[in-house]
Amino acid sequence: MSHQIKIPELAQIQVRGHTRAAFLTRATITAGAVMGLGAVTPFTRAAIAQGGGGDLDIANYALTLEYLESAFYTQALKEVSGLSDDVKKLATELRDNEDEHVGALMAMISDAGGTPVEAPGVDFGDSFKSEATFLMTANVFEDLGVSAYNGAAPMIESVDILGAAGTIVQVEARHAALVRLARDKPPAPQAFDKASTMEEVLAAAKPFIKA
């Protein structure tokens, strides 16, 4: 698994210098405070610094979620005993996809002059007790990921970062549907997927983050 994947398209990031105070005051800085991710990254590009670094903060927020998902599937594949072949195959695919998301977001953040956040410490509790508990937590993560991207994406200024978020959220939604099918749950229970705020997402993710 590589976190150094380079995505040429994402290297051409153009971050606009718009201020995006509404989003920043509402949510962004909370990521560092709530999750202990450390100081919000120092932005080297003037335009970004002047704009408050909104896109990079969103990208780091997404990166944190992807780290969680990646660690979750990586551990699951080692720790859940008696996974069926189908679920093992699914978990492997999902892990590989999440790893690629981590790599792409890290590269994107670095290329935009930001500093990727560190991976959080994780604690998935009893999630790996059985295939059923694993799938249930996976369901939570994937639905959460969809709602997180859907909530944050409209605030992204850069068309390229928005495009990247779109390519990732679609895959998260596909994951969510597949995990739900594996649980005999409706794959797409609603006509409109939720859009969650950063606070809501971080609160939902908090139990899995080791202080």
Binding site: I5, I7, P8, L10, R26, T92, E93, D96, N97, D99, E100, H101, A104, M136, N139, V140, D143, L144, V146, S147, A148, N150, G151, A153, P154, M155, V159, D160, L162, G163, A164, G166, T167, I168, V169, Q170, V171, E172, A173, R174, A177, L178, R180, L181, K185, P186, P187, A188, P189, Q190, A191, F192, D193, K194, A195, S196, T197, E200, V201, A204
Partner: protein, 253 residues
């Protein structure tokens, strides 16, 4: 089955660029043609209906993805029709696709070809969602001050005659197309409320696509370019021209 290692790497996101819309934005004559085709109009926004429709009706405990957010920014009323023209085109384009999908599920259910209860439930639920998308997008176009396009006259006879598997495979293909179509427009939508709405529909199309591709027995990445996660970690967008070309067989001349 062993994990499919071929899924790793080689997948690069293609940020939608230089598609039909870019061309439309540059070329006034092509833009006019498109407007005639799509029945686009003008001005002003209010997406209350759509955003209200994004309610939480998911009772599954496995889904604790947070409550529905209410964007603090209300729709920005636009005073210039030109400001909304692009978004109206995009929403009418999406509406055309949703009309197609909604009618397809309706015809599939009415045909009685799906006997299995679980598959029926899925077809019904997906069909209802597509109809909800139709209704929301009609409201969105009106909110933007535009005129919603008419429902296209559909031609699903051949698909329906192809049997249950053919029907489900077509549904799986069309949902993959729908997801790619929304993704192709994301970066081109100007109004943030429209963007939020499009995203909330986009991920539902993706769920439909993944579920149907799985149900017809396709792998993550099937040989025919379809599949439940057909592009690997990064979904690929399609531009408007390619999508409209792809749905041509389903539209009566």
């Amino acid at each position: 089955m062993e994990p499919d290692q071929t899924m790793k790497g080689a997948n690069e996101p293609r940020i939608a660029r230089g598609g039909a819309l870019d061309e439309l934005q540059r070329d006034p004559s092509s833009r006019a043609t498109f407007l005639r085709m799509m029945g686009g109009g003008s001005a002003a926004v209010a997406l209350g209906t759509l955003l209200a429709a994004c309610g939480d009706d998911d009772e599954d405990s496995g889904s604790t993805g947070g409550s529905t957010s209410t964007p603090e920014e209300t729709a920005t009323p636009a005073d210039e029709s030109a400001d909304n023209a692009g978004d109206i085109e995009i929403v009418n384009y999406a509406l055309t696709l949703e009309y197609l999908e909604a009618d397809f599920y309706k015809q599939v259910i009415d045909s009685g070809i799906v006997k299995d209860k679980a598959t029926q439930d899925i077809a019904k639920q997906f069909g209802e969602s597509e109809q909800a998308h139709v209704d929301a997008l009609i409201s969105a176009v009106k909110g933007l001050g535009g005129t919603p396009v008419e429902a296209p006259k559909t031609a699903f006879e051949d698909v329906l005659a192809s049997g249950l598997m053919g029907v489900l495979e077509a549904a799986a293909d069309v949902e993959n197309l729908g997801a790619a179509a929304y993704l192709g427009q994301a970066g081109l939508i100007k109004n943030k409320d429209i963007l939020a709405a499009a995203l909330s529909i986009h991920s539902v199309e993706a769920r439909h696509a993944a579920a149907l591709n799985k149900l017809v027995g396709r792998d993550f990445k099937a040989d025919n370019g379809q599949g439940s996660v057909p592009d690997g970690a990064f979904a690929k967008p399609m531009d408007m021209a390619a999508v409209l070309e792809a749905v041509k067989p389903f539209i009566a001349a």
